[in-house]
């Protein structure tokens, strides 16, 4: 074989290998999806979505968990968005470069990797006990907000960094203050990136079970939360609860619950993509 032919062969080998690796991960994902779908699809109907959980598997539904997930996520977004953007703006635009800022940066990057149950313990001792919020929607949302914050801060900083210097200079040169420049130029330009980060953080939060069990979210509930101080449950906890029962019928419920959760996640992500594209187009 000539040297050229050998190089070509090597090229083709690597190409084949990478396709194989891709196929392997896709097959694993597809198997999982198929398994869940084949177990759960017969249980999926309007009644399943709108019924309370029950001791009889056939009558059980996920309504309170669905509503609970929605409320908790709202609280999480409402808390982590302003706090995360505020922290990122400070670190990126004001605090830049100092020793303190760098120390804070490293800590935030580390926080993004802390196991979620640790946040649950923090939420339990601070929000549930010290603040006296009890195992409520507010305490759950606040706990998940802590979990989401590092992701929101990091992605917001990335988004702020992509705003070109020329946009800032143009604003300063017209006599705008630093805050006016950030508010009118930097944040709007960075918004699509910030939104993407927020949705990513929310996608992570919506699937979390451990921290919410830790703060005492209920596993069985036959009412929907009426205020932020109500007790609640969320989809993953409901799924966990069904999975841990011996009867096969409950396993079907669990699979159906997972499908609902996946659809919710996909919807959330698609909304983010559509919103981002719209905003980008509107500004182009």
């Amino acid at each position: 074989m000539t040297a050229g032919a050998r190089r070509l062969a090597g090229d083709r080998l690597l190409q084949t290998l990478s396709i194989l690796v891709l196929a392997l991960s896709l097959v694993a994902l597809m198997t999982l999806l198929y398994d869940v779908w084949s177990d759960g699809w017969q249980r999926l109907d309007w009644r399943f979505l709108t019924s309370n959980p029950s001791r009889r598997a056939a009558a059980a539904g996920i309504y309170p968990a669905l509503v609970g997930s929605f409320y908790v996520l709202l609280v999480t977004a409402a808390l982590s968005l302003p706090l995360g953007i505020g922290a990122a703006v400070y670190l990126e635009e004001y605090g830049g470069g100092g020793r303190w800022a760098r120390l804070i940066e490293i800590n935030i990057a580390n926080l993004a990797g802390v196991p979620s149950i640790i946040y649950g313990l923090l939420g339990l001792s601070v929000f549930v006990r010290v603040f006296g919020w009890g195992p409520s929607v507010l305490a759950g949302g606040a706990t998940l907000a802590l979990l989401a914050l590092p992701v929101v801060i990091l992605s917001t900083r990335e988004a702020l960094r992509t705003v070109p210097m020329s946009a800032r200079e143009g604003s300063y040169a017209l006599g705008a203050t630093q805050w006016q420049t950030i508010w009118h130029q930097v944040l709007p330009s960075a918004f699509p990136g910030i939104l993407t980060g927020l949705i990513l953080a929310m996608s992570r939060a919506i699937g979390e079970t451990a921290p919410l069990i830790t703060i005492g979210a209920l596993a069985y509930i036959d009412f929907t939360p009426t205020s932020v101080m109500s007790p609640f449950t969320v989809l993953p906890i409901q799924v966990y609860n069904w999975v841990s029962r011996p009867q096969a019928a409950f396993a079907e419920n669990a699979a159906a619950g997972i499908i609902v959760l996946l659809v919710l996640l996909l919807t959330l992500n698609s909304v983010a993509v559509v919103l981002r594209d719209r905003i980008q187009k509107a500004r182009a």
């Binding site: 020329s166 200079e169 017209l174």
Partner: protein, 273 residues
Amino acid sequence: MIRPLRPLTTFTSPPGAAAPPTGVKIAVTGLDFFYSQKQALSAITTDLQANIVTAFIGPSGCGKSTFLRTLNRMNDIIPGARVEGQILIDGHDIYHPGTDVVDLRRRVGMVFQKSNPFPKSIFENVAYGLRVNGITRNRGELEGRVEDSLKAAAIWDEVKDRLSESALMLSGGQQQRLCIARALAIQPEILLMDEPASALDPIATQRIEELIYQLKTTYTIVIVTHNMQQAARVSDRTAFFWLGRLVESGPTEQIFTSPTEKLTEDYVTGRFG
């Protein structure tokens, strides 16, 4: 014409500051500039005259843009940048701790090398400076000022029917004239232009140069240019920079025909640079 709205504010200045000589708008004395450790300007001393066009020429990296950006303290936003020496505008020290930088930049407008319209409508681009400075909230007055500024920048006829369209839809030359209109809207006294035509084709360049010629009756204009023909065409006075120093400055004709320094002569005759 742009109608005056409010009396131009003055800077805070140390008591007893000497009145500037007639005709001198900007007086620079012993100016040094550093990017962290690297010195970019050394001992610049010069006077810039009111209501004429002064051109800064010199090879890349000679400090002419840096010097331009010290005049509206645009370098303040660069971390580690440091200024020593004195710059007086109308006799007031712009690096005095009491100086209001925001107000300084309102009085000393700037147009950049690469046109940088905001990703907003044409109207909002021009209105931005008026809004952030709180100059007017009245819709009719705002529209009047935007129209006047676009006319002053010789772009009104091209955009008057599509003011609500995105500024990014304009051609390069139009974008640059929009940026000039944007700078004019807040009625600066001085207009700094950092190679405003370097990214434009010859026809667009010519339009910018004509515009500069019209604007100099109202504004003190300082323009940085790579293009020596352009300096010769548009400016009344020229300053030649080399390695962070001001080598020579004087009437443009003299700089180009009979400079006193050998270095200036070598540069303007194209022997280096």
